[in-house]
């Protein structure tokens, strides 16, 4: 982070990029505060990347380190492609969130804490032997303490429950809110719960003061977020303002931070999460292909939001079916595909396991199908809210028999839109299931999205067979693709299914030679898709040393690896970087690119799945792996250190 004093009298420091971390108990409204903050700075013109990180429990035990919910926002004036390694500003709503985040907070950072929450009991639960404010452990930070709970109570003391929702009114228990001065006569004051729930807005107000931004944007966003509970709009706005004013009055920072607007390509922008982008990419593909979207899914963390999102757009003809289980999710999608829809199912690792048999059916029936796997830490239930890239082997191989299919991956929240679109295009045009791998960090993380026009997206032309054609179910075109004969169409009645089919005619066959032929045809169909995908690109720097090393990444780690390589280039280290979004099949030029390097190192968040896949394919090139399975994104720092060590 480079910085300079731009105006000493206004005491505002301009910074190219800043990382802000909101942290508190799950239930403290951390995700909401973080989302509003990131939306607001995006609306104000900064580039952003966000990383929500929260426990699997809806309300984990209070004041424990395991129960800390976090929302990280990286904002800047240049291209921001990671959520950042360390924080410039930390909001810690309780001792546990301070404890959990201090090690990744920069020295000299501003830390905002709710001093009311630092009770002996909370300190003990967080594992503090003594109050960190009473020793020297925080001396290298700019700590701004505020009795947030008390201040929120004071800010809301003028407001009555008449402003609150009826539900809150019934829950109001005077004995629960000793901090709130009771008015002499009714109306009754707000209950403790409401006060507790708006602490996040006070912290947000303090942060907003530090960033020297106009409050109107936040107030607009608060109104949007609470539009279904209008009674809460004024309460939240009031607490936000109170936090802002407190920060100003108490002069919590020596200098405020200004992050200049990002230089973005001309166009219209919005903030988008990876899961929303995935859903929208599928909707766009259906529209462009002239088909209706069908999504058959079962709720599973962290993929559920894709299902939730699609259910909102019946007006676009999209049908989302919440199935009784993961198997019914994919099977309903296979049925919808047979019936002529752009059919999809969304899930995470354990769900993909349940879908394995049906995926094999889709391979055998050669029907278009998009399977979105928002990966999480496994095996089994693993760490549901933590991200990992460990479903690659499952995506590639997790079926009985020889069952090749297409595997592609998105690499940023915004490009989930394009890879979902691409998954649909490949599935429809090549009559195959496609697994799109995203992950929890991509799905929940958000980023600026330059809004495209649907007409500018590549065309999608599924091989729909016209009525009364000379049709054979397994007759193939030059790309080994069979025709799609949709029920209801005259003259194309046929049967498909899981039994091996006779080449061409499609009747059931157990002929040995035919099976061998069909196995090879199914493989060739997938291999042929390499002709339709972009070649691998290499990001390298001229006039630098170490140009014999190629850094490889795939999926959601692109931003961090790219940023780390970029920094190495600035340091005069010329390692090259190649990022894979297409896994099966691989880009055609992969081998020729690999042959140009003496050392190849693959960075991935698993125990070595992509590196082993590549080793299996390219045995003449030494390929090394750098693997982490800690449920967290890579840091730029660790990548740079690893590459320096080589």
């Amino acid at each position: 982070m480079s910085s300079k004093q731009i105006n000493s009298s206004s005491q505002t420091v301009e910074k190219d990029d800043v990382v802000v971390k909101f942290a508190g108990d799950s239930g403290d409204g951390i995700q909401l505060a973080g989302t509003i903050f990131s939306d607001s700075v995006a609306l104000e013109g900064n580039d952003i990347a966000t990383f929500p990180d929260y426990p699997a429990e809806i309300r984990a035990p209070r004041n424990t380190v395991a129960g800390v919910s976090g929302f990280q926002v990286h904002l800047g004036k240049n291209n921001i492609s990671t959520s950042g390694d360390e924080y410039d500003v930390l909001v810690a709503m309780n001792p546990a969130s301070l404890k959990a985040n201090l090690k990744t907070t920069k020295k000299g950072a501003t830390i905002i804490v709710d001093s009311d929450s630092f009770t002996p009991e909370a300190l003990e639960k967080a594992g503090y032997k003594y109050n960190p404010f009473t020793d020297e452990s925080l001396s290298s930070y700019n700590v701004a303490t505020a009795p947030i709970s008390s201040l929120v109570g004071t800010a809301l003391s003028g407001l009555s429950v008449q402003a609150a929702t009826p539900k809150l009114q019934s829950e109001a228990q005077p004995q629960d809110c000793p901090e709130v001065p009771l008015p002499a006569a009714p109306p009754a004051p707000l209950d403790k719960k409401t006060i507790e729930k708006t602490r996040n807005m006070f912290a947000l107000g303090m942060i907003y003061y530090i960033f020297d931004k106009p409050c109107e944007v936040i107030e607009h966003l608060i109104a949007e977020k609470f539009k279904k509970k209008p009674a809460l709009i004024e309460i939240n706005k009031k607490v936000f303002r109170a936090g802002y004013d407190y920060a100003d009055t108490a002069e919590i920072v020596e200098s405020r931070i200004s992050v200049p607007k990002a230089k973005l390509e001309k166009g219209r922008y919005r903030n988008i999460t990876g899961n929303t982008a995935t859903a929208w990419g599928l909707l766009a593909a259906a529209e462009r292909a002239g088909l209706k979207l069908f999504l058959g899914s079962y709720p599973i963390t962290p993929a559920t939001d894709i299902l939730v999102e699609i259910t909102k757009y019946k007006s676009l003809g999209a049908k989302a079916f919440q199935a009784e289980d993961e198997i019914a999710g994919i099977c309903s999608a296979i049925g919808a595909s047979y019936a002529g829809a752009l059919a999809c199912t969304s899930t995470s690792g354990p769900g993909l396991s349940l879908k394995s048999e049906a995926l094999g059916l889709a391979v055998m029936a050669e029907l278009p199908l998009v399977v979105v796997d928002v990966q999480r830490s496994g095996p089994s239930t693993g760490m549901p809210t933590k991200s990992e890239q460990s479903d690659l082997n499952q995506a590639l191989y997790g079926r009985n028999g020889e069952a090749p299919l297409v595997v592609i991956s998105a690499s940023s929240p915004a490009n989930c839109f394009y890879y979902a679109y691409e998954a649909a295009k490949i599935a429809l045009e090549h009559m195959t299931p496609v697994i799109l791998l995203t992950d929890g960090s991509l799905g929940n993380g958000s980023q600026l999205f330059r809004i495209p026009k649907v007409i500018d997206l590549p065309s999608i032309k599924p091989p729909i067979v016209p009525a009364n054609s000379d049709y054979k179910p397994y007759k193939r075109d030059e790309n080994f693709v069979r025709g799609w004969a949709i029920p209801g169409t005259e003259g194309l009645r046929h049967r498909v299914g899981g039994l091996e089919k006779l080449d061409g005619a499609g009747s059931v066959s157990t002929d040995p030679a035919n099976h061998e032929l069909m196995v090879s045809l199914r493989r060739k169909k997938i291999e042929k898709i390499a002709d339709f995908i972009p070649e691998l690109k290499v990001f390298s720097a001229a006039n630098t040393a170490n140009t014999d090393t190629l850094v490889v990444s795939w999926g959601g780690t692109e931003g961090t690896v790219h940023t780390a390589v970029e920094k190495l280039h600035q340091q005069g280290v010329g390692v090259a970087h190649a990022h894979f979004n297409y896994i099966m099949p691989l880009p055609r030029n992969t081998e020729s690119i690999f042959s140009e390097y003496k050392k190849i190192i693959v960075f991935e968040l698993n125990d070595g799945q992509f590196v082993n896949y590549l080793r299996g394919k390219f045995q003449n090139v030494p390929i090394e792996g750098y693997n982490r399975t800690h449920g967290q994104p890579f840091t730029e720092k660790e990548i740079i250190e690893k590459l320096w060590s080589m």
């Binding site: 390509e265 009784e324 049925g335 047979y338 059916l361 209801g488 009645r493």
Partner: protein, 342 residues
């Protein structure tokens, strides 16, 4: 409500014969179902292309190969969710599920209850031969307690499912039971099942000549059937027996077999079948009548009006189209907070 497209010209049984060789064992009860379905398809009057037969795995699941319609022979237990996807994606198709007792009620048990609960507008035929035939003779979830099979050499120690009970428990709107020995009744019931607006379940008591021969002989045997079958007709008294002089009465809410003319019983005392009453208790009672104390109920046991998943979905789709400002994906992409960078 979306209607199935009708055929322009009258169709015959020949129009639905496929070119595939039927590979069931000689004497298999499934032949009777194929014959009945082939009779019903032209009678229904829909376009040949409007029919989609979906099956799972098992002997009965070979069914789609043997009728010349659109068909999908899928994987074990999954015919119902696949049929669900077909029907939701294109409600103008007449979607059928061909399934067996193992396929529908063991491996596919979860889907079975949910497709019924949703009242998905599909027609389900459950071929119940109380045995796993294709894997050569293991007990199924409908095998009677104590049945000696390959996997229960000392007799099963599991009580069986009664498919009708599951249908009632899952709030089904149509349940019928037919036998492979009465193809005419089967065809008539299938016709009504397809015309039913909602999920229809027709349990067909089929024989497996190889692994469970005479599975239902106590019900279907020529010499016993008159006394062992209570053939139900809506609005008619529940009479049975060769002389149709026996009937079912309700005494203290319990069924009782009575004889007309004995102990002062007249035809007016006999329970009249009301397939259309929403009250599930009498249908449940009928579905669970069993030998030797009672005849087994055959025919349409329950046929009640109920709103389907598909019509509710289409209503929501139409409403969304009319009300939502998002008419195309460009509208969606530009909805909410967006800003221009020049």
């Amino acid at each position: 409500m979306v209607y199935v497209e009708r055929s322009q010209e009258p169709l015959t049984k020949q129009d639905f014969l496929s070119d595939q060789m039927v590979k069931w064992c000689p004497g298999c009860g499934d032949y009777a179902v194929l014959a009945a379905v082939s009779n019903v398809l032209p009678r229904l009057g829909y376009k040949k292309e409007s029919y989609v037969m979906v099956s799972g795995i098992g002997c009965s699941s070979r069914f789609p190969y043997y009728v010349d319609t659109y068909g999908f022979h899928s994987i074990h237990g999954r015919a119902n969710p696949i049929a669900t996807g077909v029907k939701i994606a294109n409600p103008s198709l007449s979607v059928w599920v061909n399934s067996g007792d193992g396929d529908a009620m063991a491996i596919g048990g979860n889907h079975f209850i949910h497709v019924i609960r949703r009242n998905m507008d599909i027609n389900m035929l459950v071929f119940n031969n109380q045995i796993y035939g294709l894997t050569k003779g293991q007990y199924s979830p409908t095998s009677p307690m104590g049945a000696v099979t390959k996997t229960s050499p000392a007799g099963t120690i599991e009580p069986p499912f009664n498919p009708g009970e599951l249908v009632m428990g899952a709030q089904g709107t149509f349940f019928a039971r037919v036998t492979d020995t009465n193809p005419k009744l089967m065809a008539d019931v299938l016709y009504e099942a397809v015309k039913h607006d909602g999920c229809s379940v027709v349990e067909v008591l089929t024989n497996c000549v190889i692994f469970n021969d005479k599975a239902h002989a106590a019900i279907t045997g020529k010499d016993v059937k008159d006394d062992a079958q209570l053939i139900l007709e809506h609005g008619k008294p529940m009479l049975f027996g060769a002389a149709r002089n026996k009937g079912i009465m309700l005494v203290d809410s319990k069924p009782k077999v009575v004889e007309i003319g004995v102990d002062g019983v007249t035809i007016d005392d006999i329970l009249v079948h009301d397939a259309n009453t929403p009250d599930v208790r009498i249908h449940h009672l009928l579905a669970t009548l069993k030998l030797p104390d009672f005849p087994v109920a055959i025919g349409i046991i329950r046929r009640v009006a109920g709103v389907t998943y598909n019509s509710l979905l289409e209503n929501q789709m139409n409403e969304a189209r009319a009300k939502s400002p998002v008419k195309c994906v460009d509208d969606l992409l530009n909805s909410g907070d967006t800003w221009a960078v020049d």
